[in-house]
């Protein structure tokens, strides 16, 4: 709990920085409408308080924030930022959680499998594959997948998002998961090899336990620790939506809102998403700490 409170100043600094950096960048939210009459532009600016001095806008924004109000979107007239986030987040969350789950299961198992075959052919193949997985960015993988599964084989829709259509999720989830699978596999292999060298594993073997039990009961928990600390920030990033993946597959998630908001100088929406993202990181790190305590009795006691 103290950790959660301690993160409030960090969040405040983040918000302040984001607020002023947005304003320093050239351009404004209504630049596109070139033919705007000066009076109309002035009226719009007044309506959104863009005519006030910057410090006053900042205070106004922070005041709203204190009441939980993220303000109106400049781009999507009639929508508040909170409403937009509430619309986009569930979509990103679904895809993100599914892909993290997939990454943990597949990457984790592959890492353990490789560790048990250290420096032999199986290990070597897993590590080569995962190296490829890490170095191939999703903006390369995603179009290739579309080309193969949608355009050539006609197995899956090329993109789009209709409520509850699982086929729509398949490719984005896979594309999002692949680099994570690769990363987790490497992480798991390294930490598992490290754990398997420890004295208590030697004891477990000396007790005559079968290898499966040595791994699952004695080695898995300690080997999970480095993965947990990787998972906290990564999961926060993934479930807030991958900008690239959502753009390529045409998914109406938070990530896509974020890009469009940034391009259009939708100040409040960008800030809102940044704050939301910051909150999630804090939350996930907190969850990871809780998990640490649940897994490691030595942490629990402190």
């Amino acid at each position: 709990m103290r950790r959660l409170l301690a993160s409030i100043p960090t969040l405040l600094v983040l918000i302040t920085l984001a607020f002023f950096m947005m304003r320093i960048a050239p351009g404004g939210p209504f630049d596109k409408e070139r033919s705007l009459l000066p009076e109309i532009e002035a009226a719009i600016n007044a309506a959104y308080h863009l005519d006030e001095p910057l410090w006053q806008q900042y205070l106004r924004y922070m005041g709203g924030l204190a009441r939980g109000d993220l303000g109106p979107s400049f781009q999507y007239a009639g929508f508040s930022v909170t409403e937009l986030i509430a619309q986009g987040f569930p979509v990103s969350l679904t895809i993100g959680l599914l892909s993290m789950l997939l990454a943990l299961l597949v990457g984790g198992s592959a890492g353990i499998w490789a560790a048990m075959r250290q420096n032999r052919l199986g290990d070597w193949s897993v590590m080569t594959l995962s190296m490829a997985g890490i170095s191939l960015p999703s903006y390369v993988i995603a179009p290739l997948m579309i080309l193969l599964f949608a355009v050539t084989l006609h197995w899956l829709p090329a993109g789009g998002w209709e409520q509850g259509r699982y086929l729509d999720m398949l490719m984005p989830v896979l594309a999002l998961a692949l680099p994570q699978i690769a990363y987790i596999a490497r992480l798991m292999r390294g930490s598992m090899i490290e754990v398997l060298r420890s004295n208590f594993i030697r004891t477990a073997r000396a007790k005559g336990l079968p290898e499966r039990q040595v791994i699952l009961r004695h080695a898995l928990k300690p080997a999970m620790m480095p993965i947990l600390s990787f998972l906290g920030p990564t999961a926060a990033g993934v479930i807030t939506g991958s900008v690239v993946i959502e753009q390529i597959f045409g998914i109406p998630g938070l990530g896509r809102y974020f890009v469009q908001a940034a391009i259009n100088r939708d100040y409040t929406l960008v800030l809102g998403v940044v704050i939301f993202y910051g909150l999630l990181i804090v939350l996930f790190n907190f969850l990871v700490d809780l998990l640490y305590g649940a897994l490691d009795p030595r942490v629990r006691v402190e």
Partner: protein, 317 residues
């Protein structure tokens, strides 16, 4: 037929620098209920000999020779068969009690799983039996200890737990690899005393590995002195301690702290260092450090039986 028979054991490791020959033609026997001390300086191959018996050598190891336990050839066993012997018929206690127990599991979980594995007990029966065994190693308040984690116990207590854990299935052989080295002097004495008592109570044979000749005197009727993975001398402990025949045994005895000597007096360690196991000389491995070395010592001495049940590998007699 002895309980454990090790015959001409050779262990070598593939390393980037070449073949490291840790054990070179070692033979030994441990009879049922007997206690054998295995003594030697660091690197003389004591632990690797034990690991070979347990079938736990590192993957870069090659073993040759024969290890027979209760008439069964251990080196020929499949992993699943070896798992039925390890922890059930042969138990092993390690040097470092602080790291030898799993920090993530309770004492009870770690103990009971041995009985579940080898005796097919259920968890409840396993825990009850574990509590009884904790009492047998003189741990007070045994039931409460079962739900504790290793970090909540002292080093001496953890080593008691380790010993209790290896005794759960009433093994016929207990290998203790420097079980007291990491502990306080007073705790050391307690653990050794406990081992002696348990040995009588359970009728278990003990192979006690140590580099301190003083320790074997209290527990082991026979002692084997090894150097560079070879037998130097073995025989009744009393005989080796009072009339050491091998210059190396004598060197070890001289480098022992006398019981009444102050702790800060440096020991008269044997001058020189053990040989490079990557480039073992063909002769007696102790020759370069031996005060009695002569020409013959550039050939490897045979192990010869002497009066009083002593085996010795030395050209000087």
């Amino acid at each position: 037929m002895a309980l454990l028979e090790v015959d001409n054991l050779e262990i070598s490791f593939r390393t980037p620098e070449g073949e490291l020959r840790a054990v070179n033609g070692l033979s030994l026997e441990v009879g049922a209920g007997e206690a054998l001390g295995v003594v030697g300086e660091s690197g003389s191959g004591k632990s690797q000999t034990a690991m070979a018996i347990m079938g736990l050598l590192a993957r870069n190891a090659t073993v040759r020779g024969r290890i027979r336990f209760d008439g069964q050839d251990l080196l020929g066993l499949k992993p699943a068969q070896m798992n039925r012997i390890r922890g059930a018929q042969i138990g092993m206690v390690f040097q470092d009690p602080m790291t030898s127990l799993n920090p993530y599991l309770t004492v009870g979980t770690q103990m009971a799983e041995v009985l579940v594995q080898h005796r097919g007990m259920n968890q409840v029966a396993g825990l009850a039996e574990s509590a009884r065994m904790l009492e047998a190693v003189r741990i007070p308040d045994a039931a409460r200890r079962l739900s504790q984690y290793p970090h909540e116990l002292s080093g001496g207590m953890r080593q008691r737990v380790m010993i209790a854990m290896t005794l759960l299935c009433r093994p016929r052989l207990l290998i203790a690899d420097e079980p007291t080295t990491a502990l306080d002097v007073t705790v050391q004495a307690q653990i050794l005393e406990l081992l002696g008592e348990l040995r009588r109570e359970f009728g278990v044979a003990v192979m006690l590995i140590t580099h301190d000749l003083g320790i074997v005197g209290e527990l082991c009727e026979r002692t084997l002195v090894m150097y560079a993975g070879q037998l130097m001398e073995s025989g009744p402990t009393a005989q080796l301690l009072s009339r050491p025949g091998h210059p190396y045994t004598r060197g070890l005895l001289d480098s022992r702290p006398a019981l009444d000597s102050p702790l800060d007096v440096p020991l008269a360690a044997i001058p020189g260092t053990p040989p490079d196991l990557l480039r073992l000389p063909p002769g007696c491995p102790f020759q370069p450090r031996c005060p009695q070395a002569f020409e013959a010592c550039s050939r490897r001495p045979a192990v010869v039986e002497r009066p009083g049940g002593v085996l010795r590998a030395c050209h000087a007699g």
